[in-house]
């Protein structure tokens, strides 16, 4: 598809670095799906939905910083919704998120709750000032918060909150956040990997499964169309958590 024009309806500041943009148009995404956001004259980048008509963006690069210059009434180009999102399985689910990766999980949790599932959450951030969507998660069910510096909730990485939950009691676990955080969780919960759905981040360019920039070793999974949500048991057998390719296709760190 060509990019469709979308007028930004509203911009909400979640933290100094994170903003939520409400978009025009009947996008009807599934939680975990993404949209290619074209900031005209700058670049096009993939963004997960944080609600039926919202994206929540962490300003980290050229395109996201340019997006932060835009307010309500400005317009952007959109391709999507794209990719395979989360699939709701069973009636008692656990969401595990880190940083801005909590955004698609809040969306998923609200849909799961509306469908009658019990929804618990484990969410982690660097510091109390970086916490987003805490009330959304608390509105769904039990929510445990962690911060790296201990300024709110349990002190430590997200995995520091794992002992609060018995994973055996959940029909499905949903994971989104920085790769090493997700890797930390998956590698500590290996025996549950077949019921963990994780949203992965790779370098998306074409977003239609032909350019190859997002392919993952060793199976050549095209994360842009076969993902971004991939079962953790598949990730355990992959490059995930060890390296990922950048814009040039070179293997690099999966930090951040």
């Amino acid at each position: 598809m060509r990019p469709i024009n979308s007028v930004i309806q509203e911009v909400r500041s979640e933290t100094p670095q994170i903003r939520t943009f409400r978009l025009e148009g009947d996008l009807d995404p599934a939680p975990g799906q993404y949209v290619m956001v074209w900031v005209r004259g700058v670049d096009e980048v993939p963004m997960s939905f944080s609600g039926p008509d919202t994206i929540t963006v962490h300003a980290v690069g050229e395109a996201t910083q340019a997006l932060f210059q835009l307010g309500a009434g400005s317009s952007i180009g959109l391709r999507g919704p794209l990719g395979n999102g989360f699939v709701l399985r069973g009636d008692r689910v656990l969401l595990i998120g880190g940083g801005v990766g909590t955004a698609p999980l809040a969306f998923l949790g609200e849909q799961a709750r509306a469908a009658g599932a019990a929804v618990d959450s484990l969410i982690g951030f660097r510091s109390s000032g970086d916490v987003i969507f805490q009330s959304r998660f608390e509105g769904l069910g039990r929510a445990v918060l962690t911060t790296d510096d201990g300024s709110a909730g349990i002190a430590g990485r997200v995995s520091a909150g794992l002992s609060e939950f018995d994973l055996k009691g959940y029909s499905q676990v949903y994971l989104c956040g920085p790769e090493l955080m997700m890797w930390d969780i998956i590698s500590r919960t290996r025996e549950h990997a077949s019921k963990i759905q994780a949203s992965v981040n790779r370098y998306f360019k074409c977003a239609i499964g032909v350019c190859g920039s997002c392919c993952m070793d060793p199976d050549g999974i095209r994360a842009c169309v076969e993902g971004p949500v991939i079962m953790a048991d598949r990730l355990l057998e992959s490059e995930f958590g060890r390296y990922r390719r950048g814009a040039a296709g070179s293997r690099g760190s999966c930090r951040g």
Binding site: R2, E44, S75, R79, C206, C211, G212, A247, S250
Partner: protein, 312 residues
């Protein structure tokens, strides 16, 4: 036993799809095109396992390149526009991906680009692949691709420089953005090419009418897919009529009928690119369709290759 025997008899009457094309022996004539799912060894190996007769890598240069800003693709009604901008990790770093791709059991063809005959030659001698495909035709990268490839003397010089240093077959991918593609094909042949590959994308553009911005980050890109197939068929026909060396047909091949048409125009093999948006199953579909067609007609690939030129 009965089942085995009947399977054997089915296999024995199915026409063989194996071909000799441009110095390579292929188990079938359907090749993954350059720049498509060719960034990793794993995706190339997967294409091979899903039935490709050979695979071509993403174009490789001397130094890492990140490519153009997005959007890098635009889907239009009749095909796909792209301006990836030759992103690649450099030919040195890519060798490990080629080694992985080779596990797929089919020839791995390294696509390479440079800005001079010397640079092409250096890259060619630094890579271990089953063949080389010279990108003299990318329409959207400054100093590379078609910027050299539209000049017959440069096509000949680059081909000659690579042939002098390579120990594997050398294919030259040609641009259709020229008045006479045959002139370019003849130049490649004079340089010693084992085959020409036609065509790369047609230089093209799309504009966002809400804003007036060109959609592609690079403004210009290359058009591929169904829209370019008739152009590609014409180019293959003209090249096959004029050249001694093999012609590999590429441009809008998405079904077995397209492959058959390309082969009748004179192609020894075909490449598939844009159709990969349908998934890896395309190779199997095209090969199966070609087999059934040849069986129905009681023909083999050699019978239909260049048939159109004998019909006019």
């Amino acid at each position: 036993m009965l089942i085995l025997l009947s399977l054997f008899s089915i296999c024995s009457i199915m026409p063989s799809l194996s071909v000799h094309a441009g110095g390579l022996d292929l188990k079938n004539p359907v090749i993954l095109a350059a720049g498509i799912l060719g960034t990793t060894g794993a995706s190339l190996r997967r294409a091979a396992q899903e039935g490709a007769g050979a695979v071509v890598t993403k174009s490789l240069g001397s130094a890492p390149r990140e490519g153009h800003h997005g959007p890098t693709v635009v889907q239009v009604d009749c095909g796909l526009l792209n301006a990836m901008g030759l992103p690649n990790p450099s030919y040195r770093e890519f060798q490990q991906e080629i080694d992985t791709a080779k596990e797929g059991g089919v020839p791995v063809i390294a696509s390479i680009f440079g800005s001079s005959p010397e640079e092409f030659g250096r890259i060619a001698s630094g890579l271990q692949a089953d063949a080389l495909e010279l990108n003299l035709s990318c329409p959207h990268a400054e100093k590379y691709g078609a910027e050299l490839g539209r000049y017959p003397d440069l096509v000949e010089a680059v081909t000659g420089a690579v042939k002098a240093r390579a120990h594997v077959p050398v294919w030259v991918k040609l641009t259709p953005n020229t008045a006479d593609i045959v002139e370019l094909g003849l130049a490649a042949q004079r340089g010693g090419a084992d085959a020409v590959v036609a065509i790369n994308t047609l230089k093209a553009m799309a504009i966002d009418i809400e804003s007036g911005y060109p959609i592609l980050g690079n403004r210009f890109g290359g058009l591929s897919g169904p829209a370019v197939k008739p152009v590609a068929v014409r180019c293959v026909y003209e090249l096959a009529s004029a050249l001694e060396i093999a012609v590999i047909g590429v441009g809008g091949v998405s079904r077995w009928e397209d492959a058959a048409e390309m082969i009748m125009a004179g192609a020894s093999a075909v490449q598939v690119g844009t159709a990969m948006t349908k998934g890896y199953g395309v190779f199997g579909e095209i090969n199966e369709g070609l087999s059934r067609y040849l069986e129905r007609k009681s023909l083999n690939l050699e019978d239909i290759k260049g048939l159109s030129a004998r019909r006019s």
